[in-house]
C-alpha cells in the first residue's frame, strides 16, 4: 500500500468536509428560502456526523484487516478479543453519531412542521418578506 496516497486521500476527505461545512453554513445563514435553509441544515448535520466517524478511523497496516466494531465469535478466547481490539475501528464516535443522527432527524421533523405552518400563515417562505411583515407589526404594536 502507498502511504502517501492514503494520507493525501484522507486529508482530501477532511478538507472536502470542511468545504461542505462552510457551504452549508452559508446556506443556513444567508439563504432566504426556508426550504433551502432546511436542506442546507440537514447536509450540515450530516457533514458533522461524517467528520465524527472519520475521527474514529485508523490507518490500515499491511497484514491488518479492519473490521466494524462487532465481535463475530460468540465464545471468544482472550486471544480473539485481543485480535478484535487490534483490528476494530473506534466504536464511540459511531455511538455518538447514531445519537446525533436521530437528534438531527427529530429537529428536522419539527422544522418541517414549522415551515408548513409558516407557509399556511404567511403564504410565503421567504424570510426577508416575513421579516418585513414583522417589522411592520412590531412598529404598529409599539406605537
Amino acid at each position: 500500500m502507498d502511504i502517501e496516497l492514503v494520507k493525501f486521500m484522507f486529508i482530501l476527505t477532511v478538507m472536502s468536509l470542511y468545504l461542505n461545512f462552510a457551504i452549508t453554513l452559508y446556506g443556513v445563514v444567508a439563504k432566504v428560502n426556508l426550504v433551502k435553509k432546511l436542506i442546507a441544515l440537514t447536509i450540515l448535520q450530516d457533514t458533522v456526523n461524517v467528520f465524527t466517524v472519520l475521527i474514529g478511523y485508523r490507518l490500515w497496516r499491511p497484514g491488518l484487516i479492519l473490521q466494524p466494531p462487532a465481535l463475530t465469535d460468540m465464545n471468544p478466547t482472550p486471544e480473539i478479543i485481543k485480535d478484535f481490539v487490534e483490528r476494530s475501528v473506534d466504536p464511540l464516535p459511531q455511538a455518538f453519531v447514531l445519537t446525533a443522527i436521530v437528534i438531527g432527524l427529530a429537529v428536522t421533523l419539527f422544522l418541517t412542521t414549522i415551515v408548513l405552518h409558516v407557509n399556511y400563515h404567511f403564504k410565503t417562505v421567504n424570510v426577508d418578506e416575513i421579516g418585513g411583515m414583522k417589522r411592520r407589526y412590531i412598529h404598529e404594536e409599539a406605537v
Partner: protein
C-alpha cells in the same frame, strides 16, 4: 503438459478420464489460493464499476428534467448496492452487508415520492 502425459499413460476409458480431470482440478485448487484469487479479481472489477458511477453522475448533473435525474439516481443507487455487496467480500467483513439491504429498500422510495409529486395533487392522496 504433464497433465497430458498422465492422460496418455492411462487407458482412455471414460470413467478414468473423468476421474483424472477431477483429480487434476482438485490439484489446481490446492495450488491456487482461493482467497487471493477472489480478492484480486474483485479488486480489478472495482475500477470499471467506479467509472460507471461517474458516468451516472454526469447524467445527474446534466439533467435536464427532474425525471432524468431521479432515474439516474435510481440506477446509481441500485448499482451502488451491488457494489457494496462486492466490497463486503473485499474487506472481509460479511456483517456489513446490511448496508446494501437498506440502500435497496430506500432508493426505490425516491421514485415513488417524485412520481407522486408529479402525478397527484396531494402527497397523501
Amino acid at each position: 503438459m504433464k497433465f497430458l502425459d498422465e492422460l496418455a499413460g492411462t487407458s482412455l476409458h471414460a470413467s478414468n478420464l473423468i476421474k483424472a480431470i477431477v483429480l487434476r482440478i482438485m490439484g489446481w485448487s490446492l495450488m491456487i489460493d482461493l482467497e487471493s484469487w477472489v480478492l484480486t479479481y474483485l479488486t480489478l472489477l472495482m475500477i470499471p464499476y467506479f467509472i460507471a458511477f461517474l458516468l451516472y453522475l454526469v447524467r445527474i448533473l446534466k439533467g435536464p428534467t427532474l425525471s432524468d435525474r431521479v432515474l439516474a439516481v435510481d440506477a446509481l443507487g441500485y448499482d451502488l448496492a451491488a457494489f457494496m455487496t462486492m466490497l463486503t467480500i473485499l474487506v472481509r467483513s460479511p456483517i456489513i452487508i446490511v448496508c446494501s439491504v437498506v440502500l435497496i429498500l430506500w432508493i426505490f422510495s425516491l421514485d415513488i415520492y417524485v412520481a407522486k409529486y408529479l402525478e397527484a395533487k396531494e402527497l397523501g392522496g
